[in-house]
Each structure stands twice: as C-alpha cells, then as structure tokens.
C-alpha cells in the first residue's frame, strides 16, 4: 500500500507492506536510524517518536497507520547546529552513558514537558515510565528534564 508521511518536515512516499512496523519504515526505508529498537514487547521506549506532537512507541504502530500524519524523530529536534533545549540539558546534566536509550528518552521527555511544563521529580519519573535505561542512569535523566523545565540555565 502506498503511504505518504511527513517526517521532520519532509514528505516521504513509499509502497509498504501493511505489516511493516513504523520503526522499521523509519529506519530501513527512510534511512533515519536515530530511532532505536530495544525490545520486542513495547516496553523499552527506545523507539519513541512524536506522531502529531505526542510521544508514541513507533514499534507498536504499523507504517500504514502513520499515512498522512506528521512525525518528528530525534533527527528533527535540533535547529541546525543548535541543540534542542532538552538535548542541551541532557548534555549538561550527563544524562547519557552508552546513549542507546537517549533518542527515545529525549523524545518522551519533550512530549512530557509539553503536557506538564512544571513537573515535580516524581511526576518526571512517572512521565518517563515508558522508557528504560539499561545503563540505569535514571537519576541524571530526571535531573536533565527538571533542568530543562527550569529554563535550562545553570
């Protein structure tokens, strides 16, 4: 089936098998490999992107469901060489170790702050419940999100 999807502002049109998972479409067909795959059970959140502005696990959607929708992946977050404030906060707060969970964490965190711009520590933890960090670097991830919410200045 032919689908047209806007990803990071550019429109992509391809013929896909209905069973193609959205994350496979983004990585293997469009070639944007920033979005990771970390599990088979919809648990880890490494594949988190935005669909129409909301965080979604792209391994739990078929590409055909994204036909006509507006997607944002980690590659589309920065403004040229200027990092998105959430990326900058992750950098400043050392919120990544191996970096595997980071694209999904950042995308989940950006969506979360849009819904809850002034969260408590506990709310951040609940808001990132769908994302696992195998390096268990949660402490600094939570710090980074709070840092970003507070305006990002040190």
């Amino acid at each position: 089936m032919e689908i047209s999807v806007t990803i990071n502002g550019a429109t992509h049109t391809h013929d896909v098998e209905p069973r193609t998972l959205l994350v496979h479409y983004i990585r293997d067909v469009v070639g944007l490999t920033g979005t990771n795959i970390g599990c088979d059970t919809s648990s880890c959140g490494a594949c988190t992107i935005h669909v129409n502005g909301e965080s979604v696990k792209s391994c739990t959607m078929f590409a055909v469901q994204a036909d006509g929708e507006d997607l944002l992946t980690i590659e589309g977050l920065a403004d040229g060489d200027t990092l998105h404030p959430m990326q900058e906060s992750f950098r400043q707060c050392h919120a990544l170790q191996c970096g595997y969970c980071t694209p999904g964490m950042v995308m989940a965190a950006v969506s979360f702050l849009e819904e809850n711009p002034n969260p408590s520590d506990r709310e951040v933890r609940l808001g990132l419940e769908g994302n696992l960090c195998r390096c268990t670097g949660y402490h600094n991830i939570v710090k980074a999100v709070l840092h970003c919410a507070a305006g990002g200045e040190q």
Partner: protein, 275 residues
C-alpha cells in the same frame, strides 16, 4: 518480531468497518489503538488474515454529557479520558484508573473501546467500568444494542460481541459526588497489575467493586458489595473479596497470594473511597 502478513482495510465509517467484518468473519480483526493487538501479532499469537483499521473514525472519539450518564466514544484515547474534566466530575474513578494504564506513550494511542473489547482480565479499565455499572453499545449489521458490563465478559479474551459487531460507545451512569479508590499492585514501573481493585461509593451510598486479574475475566466482587449493603464494615466486607474468583498462578503470584492481595487491596480501596 515481524507480524504475519495480512490484508489491510482502512474503514472510513463504522458502517464500512461492520461491512468488512461481515464479509471476512473471524478472519478479520479491528485495529483501534493497536496497543493490545499489535503486541499479540508481533509474537504471532494473533494472525488475522484481514486487519480493519478503525483508528481514523474521529466521530467515535468524544466525551459527552448525556444527563444521567457520561457517553464516551469507543475510539477515545486513554489520554483524553485521563484529562477530561467531565470524566473527572461525573465518572472520576474511570479517569483515575485510566491514568494508571501503561505509560504516556501507551495512553496516547490506546483507546477505551479497545481496552474493553480485548476482554483482558489483567486490564485495569474494565474494573472501573464494572464498579461504575457501565453499559456498552455495540453496532452490527442489524443495528445497535446495549450490553450491560455484567454480561459483556464471557471468557479469557472473549466478550459478548459477535464477529460482525463493533463497540461504538461506553455509557457510565453519572457518579457526581462519588468517592472512589483504585489499588494496583505491581512490582515495577509500567507493569500490569498482579491484582487490582476499583471501588466507588456513590453519593447515595451504593457501592461498586471490580477486580483486576482475579479470574479468567474482569470480575465484580459481588460478595463484597452484598456484605456492605447488609451493613458490614469495609474490613469485614473486604475479607470476601476473593469469593467466587478463580485466579491463575504465574511467575508473579500463587493463587493464595492473589486471594490475599484481593482482600488487602479491596480494604484499602474501600477506605480510600471513604468507608
């Protein structure tokens, strides 16, 4: 894993979806938010030959005040239920329970209708609908019918819906001024409940209690409700929480442990609801 191949039909209306179901019978599956169906398909525990996508039926995504009830369209996303002021004011238990489902990404995609139609005893949402005494509206080739939530869950992942019927609306008798409690016991963030309990005490004093993961279906704690109506205290009534239930044993809990959890969590939920 990658799901088995299927034919994809995108329904433009509820009637189109029902027509597709009528044509393909039990070969076909509706796809709403996909957050129960796609995980099953990835493990090839479900291999529908035809997938009928109803995810774009925006006219079935709504939360309306029906006077004596709140009407919620089957395609309404968990996030919209969780943040609705109308649900908070008139069916607060459902809003609270929905906010404990999965994680934010799951709640952005999953729908109320999908959570009910899946018929999963481990799902949190049916327990709230049982406690609140919801009515489910199903549409088929012959028109619409209403099904009481007490007649809806017929077996493990089985419901009263026929192969050619779809759920269109969930109606919740208004519970203004009610108090409620929801207790979900699990060991890790994001996990499903090992056991869960929804309890509501309506302004007039009527009590409803629904249980998660205590039986092959979502189930009402009828003995608890009966004891409370007969004047028992919350602690006395909660002792009856596992009565009539046949919970399963798994890696997380033995049968006895589940029965114990049901009693303790029911007492806590009733106390949170003001009893």
């Amino acid at each position: 894993m990658i799901p088995a191949a299927f034919d994809y039909v995108r329904a433009g209306s509820a009637d189109e979806a029902i027509a597709a179901l009528a044509t393909h019978g039990d070969e076909a599956k509706l796809l709403a938010g996909g957050h129960s169906l796609i995980p099953l398909m990835r493990f090839r525990l479900a291999r529908p030959a035809v997938v009928v996508d109803i995810g774009r039926l925006d006219d079935l995504s709504y939360i309306r005040d029906g006077g004596d009830h709140v009407a919620i369209g089957a395609l309404t996303r968990h996030r919209d239920v969780e943040t609705s002021e109308l649900v908070a004011a008139r069916a607060g238990l459902l809003g609270e329970v929905t906010s404990h489902v999965g994680d934010p990404q799951v709640r952005h995609r999953g729908t109320l209708g999908g959570a009910v139609a899946h018929g999963d005893p481990a799902s949190d949402i049916p327990s709230a609908l049982i406690a609140l005494g919801a009515t489910l509206v199903a549409a088929g080739p012959q028109g619409s019918r209403e099904i009481s939530v007490d007649d809806f869950f017929s077996g493990f992942l089985e419901t009263a819906l026929a192969d050619d019927e779809m759920l269109t609306e969930v109606r919740i008798p208004a519970a203004d001024g009610a108090r409620w409690g929801f207790e979900k016991f699990n060991r890790r963030a994001q996990d499903w409940a090992i056991v869960g309990v929804s309890a509501v005490v309506r302004a007039g004093g009527d009590v409803g209690v629904g249980l998660v993961n205590m039986h092959s279906t979502p189930v009402r704690a009828a003995a608890v409700e009966g004891a409370l109506a007969g004047g028992a205290s919350a602690a006395e009534a909660a002792e009856l929480a596992a009565e009539g239930c046949e919970p399963t044993e798994d890696l997380n809990a033995s049968v006895e442990y589940r029965q114990h959890l049901a009693r303790v969590l029911t007492r806590r939920a009733l106390e949170a609801a003001g009893l």
